[in-house]
């Protein structure tokens, strides 16, 4: 009965699709010989294709619906993948060891190109983790995150160009610059929420980019700044390969550092306040949490990480120009957080690798790359809107009295 109904619906979908695509897929006018070709075969293919797609889509939706009903009926949340990952030590310890070994030998068995991609992916992991503080934990939708990234990158580029300051000196300066810009932006906008906040941050991101593009005396405009020095290592000069491998290990260390800090932050008094703020702002205030201060902390800390990664970005590419800091970057970082699972560290890491590495390895099908990318995003949002890994936050458990 239900099946028959499904088939009927899919049938109508396919009829509708055949009708819609009829002019472009079936009729072809040959102007030279003044002939009209009727490609009926295409019509049949479209019909069958859309019928199958629609049927599968409906079937999956139904499955999802059934799954949810079942979970509701049982009255318990089925344990999510993320929870399993963080709580089952029998699983995660070997996985961690494998990941560590892989990370260690990676630069010695793969080509320079692969290492470069990996460094980029790691940078996005850190950016994702930084934005995760703002979006995932504190629930502030920030569409201008790339502005702080640009601030970091340009602080290294300019300080290096004008004063010859090295990477290690500027890294903390970039962090502080990001932090300060986070607070400058945060003060006026954090009384807004949701969509309004998103629009204002989007505007801020564009302002920073446009300033960099047009203020030639300050930032050298669209031509950017070249010949930025790579990170130094106690004065040793590396070959190009050596420099990339060094950068790779630097990024690995930096990623671990970020994971450590973010993990500690989210399991702290402040992290709890962020999560509570995301859950319910009014209740949060009524429980004595200073809304402005808490939001500002989240915003500024997120910006700090963007600032630091900006410095690393400038050091990696040895060249910065405003074109690297468009809204697409912000959207990409936000997609990483949303796709991976808001508020979950492991989710963001997986999300970053998926979103950065997939397009790289899909270069073979470069024509369809963005198509596949878009399809994956749509499918994810329909079937797993909460992200790949959900709810992987370590919750406070009471383990008996402390005497």
């Amino acid at each position: 009965m239900i099946k028959a109904q499904e088939i009927k619906k899919s049938f109508f979908v396919s009829i509708w699709f055949m009708f819609l695509t009829f002019p472009i897929m079936v009729i072809r006018v040959n102007p030279i010989e003044k002939l009209i070709e009727w490609r009926w075969k295409n019509l049949a293919l479209i019909g069958i294709g859309s019928f199958l797609l629609s049927f599968v889509w409906r079937y999956l939706l139904k499955q999802k619906e059934a799954g949810r009903k079942k979970a509701e009926a049982c009255g318990v949340d089925n344990i999510s993948l993320g929870r399993k990952l963080i709580e089952d030590s029998g699983f995660y310890i070997p996985a961690l060891i494998a990941a560590a070994v892989f990370a260690l030998v990676f630069p010695f068995i793969f080509s320079l190109y692969q290492i470069n991609i990996m460094v980029t992916a790691l940078m996005y992991v850190v950016l994702g983790l930084g934005l995760n503080i703002v979006v995932g934990l504190a629930g502030l939708l920030d569409l201008g995150y790339v502005a702080f990234y640009a601030v970091g990158a340009y602080s290294y580029a300019l300080l290096n160009y004008h004063f010859g300051l090295g990477f290690w000196t500027v890294l903390p300066i970039g962090a502080v610059a990001g932090f300060i810009f986070g607070i400058i932006l945060g003060f006026p906008v954090l009384r807004l929420r949701g969509d309004y906040l998103a629009i204002v941050t989007l505007g801020f991101g564009e302002i920073i980019r446009l300033v960099l593009e047009n203020w030639n005396e300050f930032s050298f405009g669209p031509s950017g700044i070249a010949n930025i020095s790579r990170p130094g290592f106690f004065g040793i000069q590396f070959s190009l390969q050596g420099a990339i491998i060094y950068l790779y290990f630097l990024m690995i260390a930096f990623t671990l550092f970020t994971i450590f800090i973010v993990n500690r932050l989210q399991n702290s008094r402040i992290g709890r306040a962020w999560i509570a703020l995301r859950e319910d702002e009014i209740a949060c205030q009524a429980m004595g949490i200073d809304k402005t201060k808490t939001k500002l902390t989240a915003f500024a800390l997120g910006a700090t990480w963007a600032g630091m990664i900006g410095v690393i970005f400038a050091a990696k590419t040895t060249f910065v120009n405003p074109a690297s800091f468009t809204f697409m970057e912000s959207a990409m970082i936000l997609s990483i957080v949303v796709l991976g699972g808001m508020g979950s560290i492991i989710g963001v890491i997986i999300g970053a690798f998926a979103l950065i590495l997939t397009p790289e390895y899909l270069r073979a099908f470069s024509d369809y790359r963005m198509l596949i990318f878009g399809a994956i995003m749509v499918i994810m949002m329909v079937f797993r809107p909460q992200g790949i890994i959900t709810n992987a936050r370590r919750t406070y458990k009471f383990h008996g009295r402390i005497s």
């Binding site: 702290s268 402040i270 306040a273 999560i275 859950e279 209740a283 205030q285």
Partner: protein, 282 residues
């Protein structure tokens, strides 16, 4: 002479023990006068109930006291009965932010439950401890000894409260998975974690069955008697109100129309009229 002295003493005593004093409070929304020169006071150790028909302005009154709205006119004074220096110190709290008012020692619950549903029961109560603890970013990152100690104390304190409220069996559950009555009690627990001297409960018994309401009444009495927290509550369940209130204030159209003990209110013709309409009193 003697009468004057007694009056003076009585007035002094009354001032000594009044934890909340609202004078002439007025709140407007555009042209609508939601609260019109309302006076109200809560003495230490008292359970005071605010009743009134729907839309009388009770929740608006709560929102004014807890700083969600800034009242147009009037004064709200609080004085902590636990003030160390023993000198009566009344503080005006008009226009303070909600979090500062909570820090002063007023805590509230909400009419429509506002728990942090994706946090555990324990974490919900731990949020209440936020304003009584102080560790910051550095403490979170380095997890130094004082931070660890503070966290331990927060967990311990929160669990103690859950035990007092009778929710300790749910300690590690997500708040959203709790039964309705338990969610209401968890809101009270969370408010108590802020160490208030006055608890403001907005319709705590709404949607509860008879058994749950009875337990809630016992719980509120217990909070008053054991924790010495004064209570101001809004409620529609008359049986519940009459059984636990020391005094009742009745509001209608933003005004106070009556105040007194449950027995007085029950007989008050103005109250009956407000609730049941004109025909009854005619």
């Amino acid at each position: 002479m003697r009468a004057g002295l007694i009056n003076f003493m009585a007035g002094f005593l009354k001032n000594m023990i009044s934890v909340l004093e609202v004078k002439n409070l007025t709140m407007n929304f555009g042209g609508l006068c939601a609260i019109d020169s309302l006076d109200l006071d809560v003495a230490q150790g008292e359970i005071v109930t605010l009743i009134g028909p729907n839309g009388a302005g009770k929740t608006t009154f709560f929102n004014c006291i807890t700083g969600i709205y800034n009242p147009a006119r009037g004064d709200i004074f609080v004085s902590s009965p636990w003030n160390k220096d023993k000198i009566k110190k009344q503080e005006r709290i008009n226009g303070l932010k909600p979090n500062h008012i909570t820090e002063k020692g007023l805590a509230r619950t909400f009419q429509n439950i506002r728990l942090f549903s994706n946090m555990t029961v324990l974490e919900n109560v731990m949020i209440g401890r936020h304003c009584r603890t102080s560790s910051g970013i550095a403490g979170a990152v380095f997890r130094n000894r004082s931070t660890v100690k503070e966290e331990k104390e927060v967990v311990e304190y929160s669990y103690n409260i859950l035990e007092k409220i009778g929710l300790s069996s749910f300690v590690n559950e997500f708040a959203k998975n709790l039964p309705y009555g338990a969610q209401r009690r968890l809101e009270i627990a969370r408010a108590m974690a802020t160490e208030p001297f006055l608890l403001l409960l907005d319709e705590p018994a709404a949607g509860m069955n008879l058994q749950e309401t009875r337990e809630l009444a016992e719980l509120i009495m217990r909070i008053r008697d054991r924790e010495h927290i004064s209570i101001l509550l809004i409620e529609h369940d008359m049986k519940f109100v009459m059984s636990i209130s020391d005094r009742i204030f009745v509001m209608d159209y933003g005004r106070k129309i009556a105040q007194g003990t449950p027995a007085e209110i029950r007989k008050n013709p103005v109250v009956i009229k407000a609730y049941l309409g004109d025909e009854i009193s005619a």
